[in-house]
Amino acid sequence: MKPATVLNIVVVAVLLMAPYWLNPYWVDVLNSIGLYAVLALSLNIILGYAGLFHMGHAAFFAMGTYTTAILNTQFGIPVLWLLPLSGLAAGAFAMIVARPIIHLRGDYLLIVTIGIVEIVRIALVNNVFGITGGANGIFGISRPHLFGHVIRTPHEFYYLIFAFAAATVLLFVRLENSRFGRALNYIREDDTAAEGSGIDTAHYKLVAFVLGAFWAGMAGNIFAAKMTIVSPESFTFWESVVMFTIVILGGSGNIRGVLLGAFLIIGLPEVFREFAGARMLFFGAAMVVMMIFRPKGILPPRARTYCLDFLPETPKGIGR
């Protein structure tokens, strides 16, 4: 077995066993890490693969969360049934807002996406359409049921979140190596050359946005189920920054890096809680050091080698 495979198995085994020797507090920390890992992985499609500077991911997360919260509290639809619907709501929202801005590049796109997350937050605070509950938010979201079993404790949520995260990782690994993943990689490297090579860059960028938003919306569904209360303060600009940081710090474009980033950014402040006030100082200093010594993230993506086996090599001897 390759070392990477061994490492994968060990990590998965440790994560599966973790709740057995952790108290509910630490399991809850792991749950946060898991949710942020899914969010960061979904942002990674936009930021890491396509290279679009998008700092408004909390807006899509909010769309999913509020879709679940509203439909569950108003119409009593079971929470987990709303999982795909929350994704669709966030995806549709992303399609509408991303379409006119998709041609923007770099920092210009960044500023617009910051605008989006603020607009969404302020709309939620102002109780838009009278359905978001204003600054108080929405409470009384029911617990998810799975096969007749109610998911309630942190330990139960742990397995729901990690099953979702595992499914996300498996799907996104496939995505990375698909034609779609390749196209995004080319677009990130040089979008003019990609367009000139016959890649519909606007289309692929938009699909990346919609797919990333769809996944963030689904994460929002689980977030709503876990919190049972949602309010606009969960979707501030700072949340977007945290997701952005996880991707950039962990290694944008690398799934392992993003997962590690989620553990570090969400987990470390909890570990260093004793340092109280100074912990954000440590955290900030660590980030500065990181960006100096590993500007591409802790685990930068390896140079891509795509499986081109369907194109057999020509017999040896010609030209070589």
Binding site: E189, G196, S197, G198, A303, R304, T305, F310, L311, T314
Partner: protein
């Protein structure tokens, strides 16, 4: 006529850089566009390939209006551009760069055949196929850029300054390969600063000055033209 450009006008913001350009390219030809810096040569090519939008006029490929299509759709029709400055994907291997060129192609057998063809044309690319494109020399990167263009299975290849920044000996070898590519049935539009070399290779040429075509003739005719000789061929 394979490619017709009619009254093409292009603006960058408010500045008009091409003022009603007319040119045509017949099947199997090598046509060169000459001109000084800023004359609009690259803009012409970029507009044909759809990377720059025209503000009026038309571009027709087999009578299909290219100016209404997006760049990626134009590639699909069989018009491939090899951009100025090569723009290969430096973090990908040579093989992946070539494979990217075939993004619009769906038939694996054809992709395979084109890959063999490119390797035959540029044997060095086969030797270096697993190397990252960023580690290639300038000349090799230019070969790779041309190879990537060929992988799109083009009917017409737009070459933007293939001699840029290359040693004379490499330029010679690349130009002879361009002739070979042409002989295998690909029509070529070549934009060059190196007017003498371009005219030796081409069948016909256009001379572009500040966004207008001022001369149009066979390559032999342009080589003999006194004005061209003083302005672009160094007098003699």
């Amino acid at each position: 006529m394979l490619l017709r450009v009619e009254n093409l006008t292009v603006k960058y913001g408010n500045v008009e850089v091409l003022h009603g350009l007319n040119l045509h390219v017949a099947k199997g030809e090598i046509v060169t566009i000459l001109g000084a810096n800023g004359a609009g040569k690259s803009t012409t090519l970029m507009t044909i390939s759809g990377l720059v939008r025209s503000s009026s006029g038309g571009i027709f490929f087999h009578d299909r209006p290219l100016h209404q299509l997006e760049a990626h759709g134009i590639v699909g029709l069989g018009v491939a551009q090899v951009p100025e400055g090569r723009r290969v994907f430096t973090t990908l291997s040579v093989r992946e760069n070539l494979h990217l060129g075939a993004f619009t192609q769906t038939d694996p057998a054809l992709i395979r055949r084109n890959l063999d063809w490119v390797y035959e044309m540029f044997p060095i690319l086969r030797t270096r196929r697993s190397q990252l494109a960023g580690t290639l020399s300038g000349g090799e990167q230019q070969m790779l850029a041309i190879g990537r263009g060929l992988m799109a299975n083009p009917k017409i290849l737009l070459l933007d300054e293939p001699s840029l920044g290359l040693a004379p000996i490499l330029v010679k070898s690349i130009f002879s390969t361009i002739r070979e590519i042409n002989k295998s049935g690909v029509t070529i539009v070549l934009v060059e600063q190196n007017a003498r070399l371009a005219l030796k290779l081409a069948d016909r040429g256009y001379v572009l000055e500040t966004g207008r075509i001022v001369l149009e003739d066979t390559a032999k005719g342009l080589l003999a033209d006194p004005e061209v000789r003083t302005a672009y061929l160094g007098g003699v």
